[in-house]
Amino acid sequence: MSQVHEGAAAPSGAHARGADGSRDLRLTGLTKEYATFTAVKSLDLVVPQGEFFALLGPSGCGKTTTLRMVAGLDTPTSGTIHLGDTEITFEKPYRRPVNTVFQNYALFPHLNIAKNVAFGLERRGIKNTRQQVADMLELVELTSQAHKKPTQMSGGQQQRVALARALINKPEVLLLDEPLGALDLKLRRGMQLELKRIQTEVGLTFVHVTHDQEEAMTMADTIAVMNQGVIEQMGAPSELYENPRTTFVANFLGQSNLIAGEIEGRDGDHVKVRVQGAVASVPGDRAHSDSGKGWLGIRPEKVLIAEAGTPIDAPGDVITGGYVTDVSFVGVSTQYSVMMPWGQELTVFEQNTGARSMLPVGTKVDISWRPEFAFLLDASQDAKAGIEDD
């Protein structure tokens, strides 16, 4: 198979295409077992060509193992990996049209920046790499640094070199393993936009592994949330956030209030659930369970709060009897902890519109939310799944 040799220089040309002509990345039943645990469990996944795809999950969830199997650095225990119609499951890493930006960049310390960037081209016997290297360094804005050694550069610069070194090969799929993890917050925000710009410009498939939900949501077209070796949910960032299917996603992506309830059953295109004496109805497409016990979920910023007895601008039921146990002012919003009559603390974010002053601790309050913002999850799941300790 000589696909790398022809392919990487002109990625769209010579390859066998999928049935619909695309070069999607397809993982089928992909599994990686180690002696003591299973890192990835029968993963099925299609990453459409040209998409910015994020694998999001806590450390140890199997996302990096998945990435390494695609790169050829780990061998799957079972399952297959296809690029279009070409199977690459057991292909050597140097024979796949796939390149990686490593977590700590893995720049060659004995080669200067230009040599680092030219490495992939030279290994494939391409002469006169000078122009391509120059173009690539320009893309990542490092033209003046070409003759420095990696150790003489800042973290952000090293990150861009790693990106250039991978991109110059015009891989069909670019893998990014926590590429921004080592950068400080401000630089990270800048690089997120930069990465997104470059991806749009070159139009390659990016598979981006991260544990940072904000980073995934900022950049990715599609996010797959991974937990304990399986994909919990996959979809566009807004879809995952607004309509999580599992408690893990509800907690890992943002924050959620999960209130225990008894599901009464479907009623038209809504599902009714009895929560602490009141009955709430959840839109059918947001109800991921329709019998037995359930978790009624609502995002903190969707909850409206008002001093007891004053009107709340919401069509839903007003739940009374709470009182404020904690207030933190974070500028754009005020975050309240409210103790409810049934002994659960709910979190409420109120946008800092200035319409009302902060409610002090101990204030008796009523809360409410629009029923269409709630979601309903199966109660067999741990309500605390996905809450990070730190």
Binding site: T28, G29, T31, E33, Y34, A35, T38, K41, S42, R68, G72, L73, D74, T75, P76, T77, S78, G79, T80, T89, F90, K92, P93
Partner: protein, 310 residues
């Protein structure tokens, strides 16, 4: 997880560049030449040594030796050479102790006080290795010469008197050809073996811990003994071993700087082998030295190890 039909079974031992690299056999092939060399010329010779220590002592190089399992060689060798053995351990011990004190100062200075001169000072520590060990030892003959200024100064400050009283010198007008000279030579020659491990472990000590100690214990001295020194113990252990072991087996210093009254066990072993041709006794002495050293090292590491835990 069931494996998908048609996929070759792949063990967790990866075939690609991943973690447990290389197949098992490659490792064996790579280490084989070196391991065989050490086996043939380091391990097996020990058996030969032990064997020769059990030869019939009546044999000689010329007539050949007979294996008679003559354990009595050990008793004879020990009785005959216990003076040299004791001297070796004493001289090596004193030299190690001096190295520890002097070397600690130097290692501490390099680790915490040298600033940008750190690397240069490290090179200077090993610089003596750049020239001949024997020539440097010979130089001490000149330094300690009877009419040299070192002897003069030592007399002026009554150091020679003190050395006389504790028995490291015999008269008050000479340093050369005394136990003092031998110990000084050993100290000098093995100092870098002490400094380097000390430096390595001191360098790992977090400077903030020392500052915190300064904050908690009023005096820097107390801070040093409560924090810095305990943290550098691994270096102290490594350094003392690396100094003591070669010093105990050395005979060059005793030969060049000492007298017939300062002979160490190495002198005896070497002359028994090369000039007297008494392999049985020489073998027994070598084994005795090795056993004493191994026992001392084990006892020492055990004590130092428990202290470290406290």
């Amino acid at each position: 997880m069931t494996s998908t039909a048609g996929v070759p079974p792949v063990s967790t031992d990866d075939t690609t560049a991943a973690k447990p690299r290389g197949r098992k056999l490659t490792g064996y092939w790579l280490i084989l030449p070196g391991a065989v060399w050490l086996l043939l010329f380091f391990v097996i010779p020990f058996y030969s040594l032990v064997a020769s220590s059990l030869f019939d002592p009546k044999g000689s190089v010329l007539t050949g030796y007979e294996m008679t399992w003559h354990v009595g060689n050990y008793v004879d060798a020990f009785n005959q050479y216990k003076g040299q053995l004791g001297r070796s351990l004493l001289y090596a011990g004193l030299a190690t102790l001096t190295c520890l004190v002097v070397g600690y100062v130097l290692a501490y200075a390099i680790a915490f006080k040298a600033g940008r001169w750190k690397n240069l000072m490290l090179v200077l520590v090993i610089a003596p290795f750049f020239t001949s060990f024997l020539l440097r030892t010979l130089s001490w003959k000149l330094i300690l010469a009877d009419d040299g200024w070192v002897v003069g100064v030592a007399q002026a400050i009554h150091l020679t008197d003190v050395l006389n009283i504790i028995g490291l010198t015999t008269t008050d007008d000479r340093l050369l050809a005394t136990p003092f000279a031998v110990i000084a030579g050993l100290t000098y020659n093995f100092l870098p073996f002490m400094v380097l491990p000390l430096y390595a472990s001191l360098e790992k000590v977090d400077i903030r811990l020392i500052e915190a100690a300064g904050d908690l214990y009023a005096s820097p001295m107390r801070g040093f003994f409560k924090v810095t020194f305990p943290l550098s113990l691994p270096g102290v252990v490594a350094g003392t071993l690396l100094t003591f072991i070669p010093a105990a087996g050395d005979y060059v210093n005793a030969q060049l700087l000492g007298s017939t009254n300062t002979k160490m066990i190495g002198n005896s072993i070497q002359s028994l082998f090369t000039t007297q041709g008494d392999y049985a006794t020489a073998g027994a002495l070598s084994v005795i030295l090795m056993v004493i050293i191994v026992a001392a090292v084990m006892a020492y590491v055990r004590t130092a190890g428990t202290e470290e835990l406290v």
